[in-house]
Amino acid sequence: MPTINEQLTEEIRVQARKLLADKTVAAVIGYTAGSLPMTVKPAVIRAADDCGRLVWNSFCVLNLANYLPEVLKSVEPPRGPRDPKPTGPLPKVAVMATGCWSRNIVVQIQEHQVERERVVVMAIGSRGMVSRRKVEAHFSGREILAVTELDHELVVKGADFTETVNRWSMVRDNCQTCTHPDPVLVDVRIGAPAADRKNPNPFKQVEMIEARSTDERWAWFSAEFSSCIRCYACRNACPLCYCPTCFVDDARPQWVGKSLDATDTGLFHVLRAYHCAGRCTDCGACESVCPMGINMRMLTKKLNKDVLNLYGIEAGMQPDTPLPLTTYKPDDPQQFIVNEPGSAKEGA
């Protein structure tokens, strides 16, 4: 009896082969096996014969939407920077997408980075991705040589041990609090659709920080981000960060210094998160790729919470409504305005 992931892998290969063979798409963005335990490699498959390399498992933590704009450009016929856009339909690209990734594709469409008609979404209901860091912490001090996945357990093998751990206990925090595991865009359905999960409070971790005093929050922020080495992996893994020149790379004006100074690092993380306001789908790629294990997702999650509470919008859920920061309502909340009647700061 093949496991759920083996079935999904097989289905992905069949569908990808079909899409490439009948020339519906020019490329498929998916995952191939990684060289280390609990890793997979994102890959762009361009030939039907290569589809056998595609895999699907619980370690697909990177967000494939991140590669979509670039791959779409790469399949267009070559042209100079001033040449007009070719008329007629351009080649399409297929991409695997779980709930959060598909929402990122929606945001990319809303922001005109991706054309809907050029994308074939291979929709996979997510069962939650496993955090490599959690597994490694569970087996701290022991080297993990191989991990095999069953439906609900992970079998972890080392040089002198074989242990079975519950899969869900190792699933990433953002996946555990996820309420929309099923893609919002579906062109090719892989496996069974995942039902929306009931989560009484997806923002529990954020509220635990909010409950602290200002000084305690500053202490948390300073400590959490003190280990940052400014490698920008979080930025590079993010499907929202497609600016040709990022604000951290600007030299005139230099918004943020390039040093490891605590202020520069803090400003980088505050602004990076802020630029994702109303666009972040909490896919957790930033946190998963951080070599230092920083929980920078707390900042974007806080923004997601405010956007939902203040403006009632969840990024990528409504393809037809504009992004929260590109629109407004005349009666948006404004208690924070210092001279408004009933403002929070009034008389403070």
């Binding site: 200002t214 500053w218 202490a219 306001a277 806080k302 923004l303 948006d332």
Partner: protein
């Protein structure tokens, strides 16, 4: 070097006065500030005004740059909602400021460092009121230390 000397004088002197950067929109709040001056309303001399075309021009980058460069407080002021010279600039700004305000609070920036207000061109007296309120608040908080890049911390790093 000048930054360092002002840093030491900031903490050593008991009669410390805050430096507050005020981003005022050209069409309403800047004119409101002008009216306050012409009408000779008294307000604390702690603000340094930066004139911007619209409150919608003030991005998080700009605002945090002011804090980074050592401002003890920041005030952003624009036209009242509905009165924007560019029709809707302040509406967009309001959404961005609401989120930024909450995020700064979340990471532990003291509430009261960063202020937002609406002041029209005819509200000279109200402008003086806002500046008084903001200056008082920043004075009680004392010199800014969070997200401030001082030469001391750079040398130590």
């Amino acid at each position: 070097m000048t930054n360092q000397t002002s840093e030491t004088s900031k903490t050593s002197q008991t009669n410390w006065e805050p430096k507050i950067i005020a981003f005022l929109c050209n069409w309403c709040s800047y004119a409101g500030a002008d009216l306050a001056g012409v009408s000779r309303f008294q307000y604390p001399p702690n603000i340094r005004i930066v004139r911007v075309p619209c409150s919608g021009r003030v991005s998080a980058n700009i605002l945090l740059s002011a804090l980074k460069s050592g401002a003890d407080g920041v005030l952003v002021s624009g036209c009242h909602p509905g009165d924007c010279h560019y029709i809707s600039g302040n509406y967009f700004a309001r959404r961005r400021f609401a989120l930024l305000n909450n995020l700064l609070d979340f990471v532990g920036i003291e509430p009261g460092r960063v202020h937002f207000s609406w002041v029209s061109a005819s509200e000279g007296e109200q402008f003086a009121e806002v500046v008084k309120k903001v200056t008082d608040k920043v004075k009680t908080l004392g010199p800014a230390t969070r997200l401030v890049k001082s030469i001391d911390t750079v040398q130590a790093a």
